[in-house]
Amino acid sequence: MKRSPVTATPDGDTAVNASAPAGAAAAPTGAPFLALRRVNVFYGARQALADVSLSIDRVGITALVGPSGSGKTTLLTCVNRLTDLIPSCRVTGAIRCGDLDVLSPDTDVLRLRRRIGMIFQKPNPFPFSIRRNLACPLREHGVTDPRLIDARLESALRQVGLWDEVSDRLDTAALALSGGQQQRLCIARALMLSPDVLLMDEPCSALDPMSSGWVEDLITALRRQYTIVIVTHNLAQARRIADHAALFWVRDGVGRLIEHGPAAQLFDHPRHELTAAYINGVRG
């Protein structure tokens, strides 16, 4: 899969741009890779997310922050259409990922999910061996050459820094790994499919501080190659790793995007009073 050129400056400021509905944030440097327009999500009659518009460039980290229930995770699951798994869930608006119209009924969802990897809050390796965990996504998508699978497997494990730890026990149970190792394995599993986008739903929150640090370093290392959208409740972490950030809030029981822009701006000079209150720990 051909990647678009990396456009980020060393501090990553221009890598990702988020365009706000009401006068917030910086302007995009080019056509956004991931573009959400007026996205609304409903669970039955209840609206969970209202009118979210967000543009994200090809590489870099965008952190979604905000209190629980403000629709951050829901937004992630709209992007890879995991919302399809919830019968009562309805998504309106438009989401484009590269050349794909995500919400179109004609879109091949399996192909879409191949391009958009997702990491969950709790590490969820399959109850198989490490090798099978990594090989099964490739096999599912038609890659059967064992040499190719082994090469990709080594490359993915090296990318997440697990190769030296597990190369001599690839055929042992993945569930025997530590929590942090399991989460890195899950990231490697997502990388096996060479995705363009990585959606991360609080990937460090279920880990101990040490493992959390390793996973955070890994995410930072991946920022130059992938479009990373991360949900986090850890504001310090968001400040450390994000190129761009977006604050979500609950108003009238509905999640809304309040402000988004370069992380430095959002954390140091927030435009919205809610953002300032949340960042300073006054609210949220």
């Binding site: 798994l85 990897g117 969820n124 198989f128 996504p137 055929d171 997502a190």
Partner: protein, 265 residues
Amino acid sequence: MALVLLVFFAGLLGHLLWHGAAGLSWELFTAPPRHAGRDGGIAPILVSTGLILGVCMVTALPFGLGTAVLLAEVTQRRSWTGEFVRRSLDTLAGVPSIVFGLFGNAFFCVTLGLGFSIMSGGLTLACMVLPILIRTAEEGLRAVPREYRLAAAALGFSHASTVCQLLLPAAVPALLAGFILGLGRAMAETAALIFTSGYVDRMPASLWDSGRALSIHIYDLSMHVPGGDGRAYASALVLIGLLLVINAGAMWAGRRLTAQWILVA
């Protein structure tokens, strides 16, 4: 409570051993019955029992697994169809086996023209064990953590692949438990087989021959053959022994599969 059960089971086993151990011999397993079963062995009965169970499981497993996947993965949990099928299965699981016997006789023996045969008996037993098999398999599939399904979906697995590559292997222990329950019930069945597989104690030459199952043999010896008690106890001991062997074998297979195939391979 557990102790009471243990004492009860030990008492049952002790009683059988006390009365039946003397009848255990090489001849019991290799010779045909003589003098209406008072002497000789139970070789043809063991073969018939094996064949009936074989027909039963070969038929019931694919149907059972297929229906369980349909209920757990295709129909919505609270959908009308799913609920209807589930209620029907639960009711069927409680239907007395003699009713299954009469149904098997009317449908397999008469309507389908299979007559009193091992095939009729096996198919009737399959109908009988299907509810247990389906419900345990369905629960097993449902018990697979939701995280696995989400992970598979996020990796672009099709629903069919998720079921075949992930859910079924992950549910193997539950599927085996259902298989053992079903097999145990089928093996101990008497009433459903009297009307379907018959009670001829000759060595069967094909699945279309009539054949006497072990449980029917025990029933026949103890009820209709004066002086047949010794062989009846010995046969009962063999039946219990077989059940224990199958249970232990399935548990071993389950542990081995879980440890080596599912978690590791």
